[in-house]
């Protein structure tokens, strides 16, 4: 069930809703000019802002209607209704990957941190397209214990280490993780087999097999993988951790924070002699 403004829209309620919304979001006003909420319908963080705007619209007299989704195809009978797509063709998976990578609201180029928020946001985007997905987690063998180490060392296709400017010195440093996570979708290969493919634009330009994905991270001794459905924001079954973020508030806040952190580190690097 979603809320949608009743058509025709009420211009007076819309103007007042705008005033209230931007009063609460001064960060979205630059030199007096209001920045629009992203129109990308698959961006879950924009969805949250739109919901907030909708609250203001209703509070100012705008009328909304409740819509039940997914909606049936016109003329669809129970024998022909489309269902959630659980398996993609290779072509569809490649297209999905391109669409995920194109989302500028997700900092794929901030390898220091943020994989959990990137994965959570991508899962919502994938599911908004009617496609089923899971999450693949990869942990250092001692994760969550005193023996935990940042043993995952991601590298680029040419073999060099993935690196990023240090947030204090500005020096480019190799990245190391104690764990990493990304969404997976089921893909039907040319030979008819179905394989889980990892959608991780922070590490590759195409969907990866699980083995490829782990190899890129150095495949350290003792590191272990876990698979979950798309719901947990963070999860470690081995040690019993589970943290949801159903309203995406934490996810979107972290994406914003990491985009800012990325900017700060980059500006430090460019100021270096």
């Amino acid at each position: 069930m979603i809320r949608r403004p009743k058509k025709p829209l009420d211009p007076s309620a819309l103007a007042k809703a705008d005033d209230d919304f931007y009063k609460a979001h001064p960060e979205m006003v630059n030199n007096g000019k209001r920045t629009s909420i992203s129109t990308d319908p698959t961006d879950p963080c924009a969805d949250i802002l739109r919901e907030e705007w909708m609250d203001n619209y209703v509070a100012n007299g705008g009328k909304v209607e409740q819509v039940t989704l997914p909606s049936n195809k016109v003329g669809c009978t129970k024998t022909s209704c489309p269902q959630t797509k659980n398996t993609l063709s290779e072509k569809e998976a490649n297209q999905l990957f391109k669409e995920l990578k194109a989302n500028k609201n997700i900092p794929f180029d901030y390898p220091v941190d943020c994989c959990y928020s990137r994965a959570h946001s991508m899962c919502r985007t994938i599911e908004n397209k009617g496609i089923g997905c899971q999450k693949l987690w990869y942990f250092d063998q001692g994760w969550g214990t005193n023996d935990g180490k940042a043993s995952l060392h991601p590298h680029k296709p040419d073999g060099s280490a993935v690196s990023f400017p240090d947030s204090v010195t500005g020096n480019s440093e190799p990245i190391a993780w104690v764990y990493h996570v990304a969404p997976t979708v089921k893909v039907k290969k040319a030979d008819g087999t179905i394989q889980d493919m990892v959608m991780d634009p922070s590490l590759a330009d195409r969907p990866l097999t699980k083995d490829e994905w782990k190899t890129i991270q150095g495949n350290p001794k003792g590191a272990y993988e876990e698979v979950t459905d798309s719901n947990p924001y963070f999860s470690n079954k081995k040690l019993g951790y589970y943290e949801p973020d159903p309203d995406m508030k934490e996810t979107c806040a972290q994406l914003e924070k990491h985009k800012k952190d990325r900017g700060v580190a980059r500006s430090l690097a460019t100021k270096k002699p």
Partner: protein, 117 residues
């Protein structure tokens, strides 16, 4: 076991489509009473059917999307794609589904009204 043949499925689908067009016509008459004051029921059904066919051309195939598309036609006119660049650019995109096109149009409409105020 009872089996349903292809011709029976087709008849069911046609009946479902007629039911939808009729309910959409009722919705539009209620929501846009002024615009349809001079339309007979038959005229309105013809209008809705043409919106349905037009929406299908842009990949808007679900009941919700066809309803949204029809509302846009009522508000912005039957030349909406020629009169409004933001509508035409969205409808003619070939990289997104019909549902995404309608979602984007809903979002863009708010901006369109915002800047025209």
């Amino acid at each position: 076991m009872l089996e349903i043949g292809q011709s029976q499925i087709q008849a069911l689908e046609e009946a479902q489509t007629d039911r939808f067009i009729s309910s959409l016509a009722n919705h539009l008459r209620l929501a846009f009473n002024d615009q349809f004051r001079n339309y007979s029921n038959a005229d309105l059904l013809r209008f809705v059917h043409s919106c349905y066919v037009w929406a299908n051309n842009y990949g808007a195939e679900t009941e919700y999307d066809v309803r949204r598309f029809s509302e846009f036609v009522v508000i912005y006119g039957s030349h909406m794609n020629e009169d409004h660049v933001w509508i035409d650019r969205t409808l003619t995109r070939d990289d997104i589904s019909g549902q995404e096109k309608m979602d984007i149009l809903d979002n863009l409409e708010v901006q369109f009204i915002r800047f025209s105020l």
